[in-house]
């Protein structure tokens, strides 16, 4: 049975327990940061920061809204990173997790270019790409991911995908009766269904998500035609060509405010 995470942003209070729980469980270091005029920190995902809360303020007259969004690997079913990975270091597991095998990763950064959500980060210290594993060690042992466990208001849930969809729909119905508009269950079907679905109370782009996350056509091209060539040829020349190719066709990341 497929698992899924539901991030219900209507419940998130921006306490960032998920950020710390992720660091604690994965033993990732704290970073040296500065206050740049926002509560948000660290400024971006990094090899040491696999999830973070993005703080978004919206104002219309006296009406202030403060949105909190979790940035993390969405664990796509159709995972572009998996498709483009030359050494097949990235796998989409039956547990739903999309995982980079650190033993196999060669640090080529293709996954970084291909990701529609701009998630994996290159770690120069060991020449590997790093990102959220969905706590593969925990979920393989019957535990829920650290970020889901820690979340006090219950904004992060983990379980059977069908249950998560049901939970989200029920919540959306309840919010609708309270007069909340702009509701969307993001990731129910996008990219073959995201392993991490997001219940939004504002437009996806307000949170900094692409409205229609797409799997770049060229990634298919890469997967089906070009990657086999690299494996067969294994030569440096063709790889060099392909690096520039990937660089040019990869998902164009929108600049997000404050990042």
């Amino acid at each position: 049975m497929a698992k899924a995470m539901l991030v219900d942003l209507s419940k998130c209070i921006g306490c960032r327990a998920c950020q710390v729980a992720c660091k604690e469980w994965n033993q990732n270091a704290g970073e040296k940061t500065e206050n740049t005029g926002t509560y948000e920190n660290p400024p971006d995902l990094s090899p040491q920061t696999w999830t973070k809360i993005k703080f978004v303020e919206q104002n219309s007259g006296d009406n202030v809204k403060w949105l909190f969004r979790r940035m993390m690997c969405q664990h796509c079913t159709d995972a572009a990173c998996e498709k483009v990975c030359p050494p097949k270091a990235i796998s989409h597991l039956e547990t739903t997790a999309v995982v980079i095998d650190q033993e196999k990763c060669t640090g080529c950064k293709y996954c970084i270019s291909a990701c529609p959500f701009n998630v994996p980060r290159y770690d120069a210290a060991d020449n590997k790409a790093k990102k959220c594993t969905l706590c593969i060690d925990r979920i393989s042992n019957g535990l829920i991911p650290a970020c889901a466990k820690v979340c006090a208001p219950g904004a992060v849930q983990f379980g059977e995908r069908s249950d998560m969809v049901k939970l989200a729909k029920a919540r959306m119905d309840a919010l609708k009766t309270k007069g909340v508009n702009d509701l969307r269950l993001y990731g129910e079907s996008e990219l073959g269904g995201l392993g991490v679905m997001v219940l939004m109370t504002a437009a996806a782009e307000d949170y900094g998500f692409p409205d229609k996350p797409s799997f770049p056509v060229s990634v298919n091209l890469w997967q089906d035609y070009l990657k086999p060539l690299t494996i067969v040829a294994g030569g440096g020349g063709i790889l060099a060509v392909l690096v520039s190719f990937i660089g040019s066709i990869g998902y164009k990341h929108k600049q997000e405010g404050g990042e």
């Binding site: 419940k11 209070i13 921006g14 306490c15 960032r16 327990a17 950020q19 710390v20 660091k23 604690e24 270091a29 704290g30 970073e31 040296k32 940061t33 500065e34 206050n35 740049t36 005029g37 926002t38 509560y39 920190n41 660290p42 303020e57 104002n59 006296d62 202030v64 809204k65 403060w66 949105l67 909190f68 006090a152 208001p153 219950g154 309840a174 309270k178």
Partner: protein
């Protein structure tokens, strides 16, 4: 809370928040400062509850609110007074409740009056009230005269109605800055919980208490809760969200000037020169406090054992007696530091506290530390207090104070119990050893006592050594917290049997008990006898989330105090869906432990509801909640009245009295204040905490996972103020008050707004108080600068509690010159 209901504690449990229909958050910020409580706020909202947030700034809690209003700091009484007026005008009060369970019907002495901001009995020379005229009318037999119809103009209800008729929506708008329509929406939503089967709760914290009208802020909301019948019911109540993990416990154990364990008063020389006088003044004729002598004498037995006997008044004279205190202003925090600054105090024992950052006017308080001869600090870190002699701007060689810094163990490096904000005592186990030579505080106190005792034993000329030499103190070679717990719980003196509860305490010296309210939490040596360690999650009577099998709540494992009020006088629950207790015709059904006489202790027979209907507030002599607080219980008025903060840019719209007439103003050279009308500091400053740090930051500014989240001192200001001051997002700015300056990063945000409805449209600057000058991060990049916000705050205090006014003072904000 104490003056109104009899106990100064959170009336509910955290989980009970889920049973609320309307949650008012005012003067607190649970999503940020008690994030896990938001689990229960969220649960309530999923069940249809409304969340109202009223705050000077839009917080993370506000982001989840159904209704949010910006409130000008220091105007809570005007806001609450407006709601009281709304409830009365629209007859939305719970009439049966106030008639039966409050003093609404009591007639007040004709000598009582209120004119233009002053209550009767004011003496402006010493800024104090003589409170005699604030009293109930009594008949010849001494019984209080009441008018059950609430129509007599001298009755509390009518006096209240008259007092708050001045608090119109127009006045609320002008005073608080809340638009009338929004105020009406809030008042209507909350007043709807006056329906018998609805529950409204208040979550407050230091945002209400840290004002020169702090006690009256809570009083004002207490009146709302009485009027709506929201006290003693599931999902109701008034809940002080305590800041530290065991600040409830430390308060329960009397670590405050004038207090002993279990909320017995420390003797006062004038009021209680002898034990007989103590009993006369503290032991009431009615109410549960008629047992107070048993509690005090059992404590004296626990402390001085065989040396405390009927012959020597149980060593009552071993206890120190309070005098008038420094400048006749007692011994509370500000008086303490003023006395230290005046060199009256020569030595300081500082246990895990960091006043150099947390104390108000910390430039004065750190200067006061310089006047000490010696100081002992026990802590986990080199705190700002421990290193005050290295602070920015001073030369260590000029500071003569000796400092002993003792390395302490943290919570999971030792074992013992702590008490949460909802009075729940839980046990913590030791998981690992403290680093190298660090020791737990129990060991330190034990060792210090043993060393002091040895010195007194060896000195025939020592001053009054008896209380030290005769102190009952044996917790083992290496002190054992379980042995201490047994003493706290109480025992029979003759055969050292642990007591099951405080019901068995005696005033004849036959029982010893360190803290009567904890009696029952540690009843023996068996595995089930440590009730604080109980972990049964199965029992949840009534489905209300009371979990009686988890830990132990004082008193007697009651989760919701005053729960007699959840039923009408005949014992029928107001809300049959959420039953705490219920009279079934023959006996009480108790989902919660009854906070009243439900069964006769001797015979075990049920006590019928009529016997307890007249006195559900068992800790008050009158047994009924006080809308009007009679003489002696409060120093600044029987009804809450709006006054401006000591530093304010607004002329009080309610009366000619600008500030609380009973507030103490201090006069040391560093006690500077910004006068009303001054243009130098025109911006209202507020201080607060953020989720990612805790208190003075010593526990969090040393943890890399938290410092990365909130690395630097900041000040939040509105875009209007930023533009006026030419300040950009992320700039370093200087914030200055009459007392000091700090540096901070500017966060320019619409979440803060000027108060357009108030005269002069004052702006607000909001700052966290977590930063300092020691630690992994200090608040800024420059070690020579100040980042501790309390260098700005004043030494002015609330007249009843001595609580400093941290939450409103005046500053200016300037772009830093680089």
């Amino acid at each position: 809370m104490g003056p109104t209901f009899g106990r100064g504690a959170m009336t509910q449990s955290w989980i009970d928040i889920k049973n609320s229909d309307v949650i008012m958050v005012c003067g607190s910020n649970p999503a940020e400062n008690h994030p896990v409580s938001f689990k229960w706020v969220t649960k309530a909202m999923e069940n249809g509850a409304k969340l109202i947030v009223v705050d000077p700034r839009f917080t993370r809690t506000a982001s989840k609110a159904d209704i949010f209003a910006h409130l000008r700091p220091g105007t809570d009484i005007a806001f609450f007074g407006g709601i009281i007026n709304y409830i009365i005008t629209n007859k939305m009060y719970h009439e049966d409740y106030i008639k039966s369970y409050s003093n609404a019907s009591y007639l007040i002495n004709p000598g009582y009056s209120f004119k233009d901001g002053l209550f009767s009995g004011y003496n402006d020379k010493d800024r104090k009230y003589v409170t005699d005229s604030w009293s109930y009318q009594t008949n010849d037999a001494g019984a209080t005269i009441k008018d059950a119809t609430l129509q007599d103009p001298a009755c509390v209800f009518q006096l209240m109605k008259q007092h708050y008729s001045r608090y119109t929506p127009e006045i609320v708008a002008k005073t608080c800055g809340i638009p009338q329509a929004k105020f009406q929406e809030i008042a209507k939503t909350f007043a709807a919980t006056g329906a018998k089967d609805k529950a409204g709760t208040l979550l407050y914290a230091m945002g209400l208490t840290q004002h020169t009208v702090g006690v009256q802020n809570i009083r004002a909301f207490s009146i709302i809760q009485i009027l709506l019948g929201n006290m003693g019911i599931a999902g109701g109540g008034i809940n002080a969200l305590r800041g530290e993990s065991n600040v409830q416990g430390s308060t329960d154990f009397g670590l405050l000037a004038g207090s002993l364990p279990g909320y017995n008063n420390l003797p006062d020389a004038a009021k209680h020169p002898t034990l007989a006088k103590y009993k006369e003044s503290e032991v009431t004729k009615t109410g549960f406090t008629q047992n107070r002598a048993k509690w005090l004498i059992s404590m004296l037995k626990a402390w001085w054992g065989d040396n405390a006997s009927a012959d020597n008044d149980f060593a009552y004279h071993y206890l120190p007696k309070n005098g008038a205190g420094f400048q006749k202003s007692g011994y509370t925090w500000i008086a303490l530091f003023e006395a230290m600054y005046a060199k009256q105090i020569k030595g300081l024992l500082c246990w895990g506290q960091n006043p150099a950052v947390s104390g108000p006017n910390s430039n004065l308080e750190t200067a006061a530390l310089e006047k000490l001869e010696w100081m002992m600090v026990a802590d986990l870190w080199k705190t700002e207090t421990a290193e005050f002699w290295k602070r920015p701007g001073v030369k260590p060689e000029n500071i003569k104070t000796e400092v002993f810094l003792l390395p302490a163990a943290l919570s999971y490096e030792k074992q013992g119990s702590i008490t949460n904000s909802g009075r729940l005592i839980q046990w913590r186990y030791k998981a690992t050893d403290a680093p190298d030579k660090a020791k737990d505080d129990l060991w330190m106190v034990d060792t210090l006592y043993k060393e002091i005792k040895a010195l007194y034993q060896g000195d025939p000329n020592a001053k009054f050594p008896a209380p030290i030499l005769n102190l009952n103190w044996d917790y083992g070679q290496e002190p054992d917290s379980k042995m201490v717990a047994k003493e706290i719980n109480g025992y029979t003196v003759a055969d050292k049997k642990q007591l099951a509860s405080f019901a068995k305490l005696a005033d004849d010296g036959s029982t010893g008990c360190g803290n009567w309210i904890y009696s029952g939490y540690f009843v023996g040596d068996g595995p089930a006898d440590n009730k604080a360690a109980a972990r049964d999650t199965k029992a949840d009577p009534g489905g209300l989330g009371l979990y009686p099998g988890w830990g132990y709540s004082w008193p007697l494992n009651r989760k919701i105090i005053y729960n007699r009020c959840s039923c009408d006088t005949a014992g029928n629950p107001w809300n049959p869906q959420k039953v705490l207790v219920q009279w079934d015709g023959a006996k009480w059904i108790t989902n919660d432990v009854a906070d009243f006489g439900a069964k006769d202790a001797a015979t075990g027979n049920p006590i019928t509801p009529d016997k307890t209907a007249s006195a559900p507030y068992i800790m008050l002599a009158e047994g009924q909640a006080r809308i009007f607080v009679p003489k002696g219980a409060i120093k600044d008025g029987p009804f809450p009245e709006q006054y401006e903060p000591v530093e304010s840019v607004i002329k009080n719209p309610l009366s000619a009295q600008q500030i609380n007439p009973a507030a103490k103003i201090w006069g040391a050279d560093k006690d500077k204040l910004t006068a009303f009308g001054s243009k130098i500091c025109p911006i209202i400053a507020i201080t607060y905490r953020v989720t990612e740090h805790w208190q003075t930051g010593s526990m969090t500014r040393n943890l890399p996972w938290l410092t990365e989240l909130m690395p630097e001192m900041f000040v939040e200001i509105s875009p209007v103020l930023a533009e006026r001051k030419q300040i950009a997002h992320g700039d370093w700015v200087t914030v200055a008050s009459a007392r000091g300056t700090v540096s901070a990063r500017a966060i320019v945000t619409e979440r803060l707004q000027g108060f357009k409805l108030c005269t002069g449209e004052p702006e607000v600057a909001g700052m966290p108080f977590h930063y300092g000058y020691t630690g992994l991060v200090t608040g800024g990049p420059d070690e020579d600068k100040n980042y501790s916000v309390n260098q700005l705050s004043p030494h002015v205090a609330e007249p009843n509690t001595g609580m400093p006014e941290y939450k409103t003072f005046l500053v200016d904000v300037r772009k830093a010159v680089t």
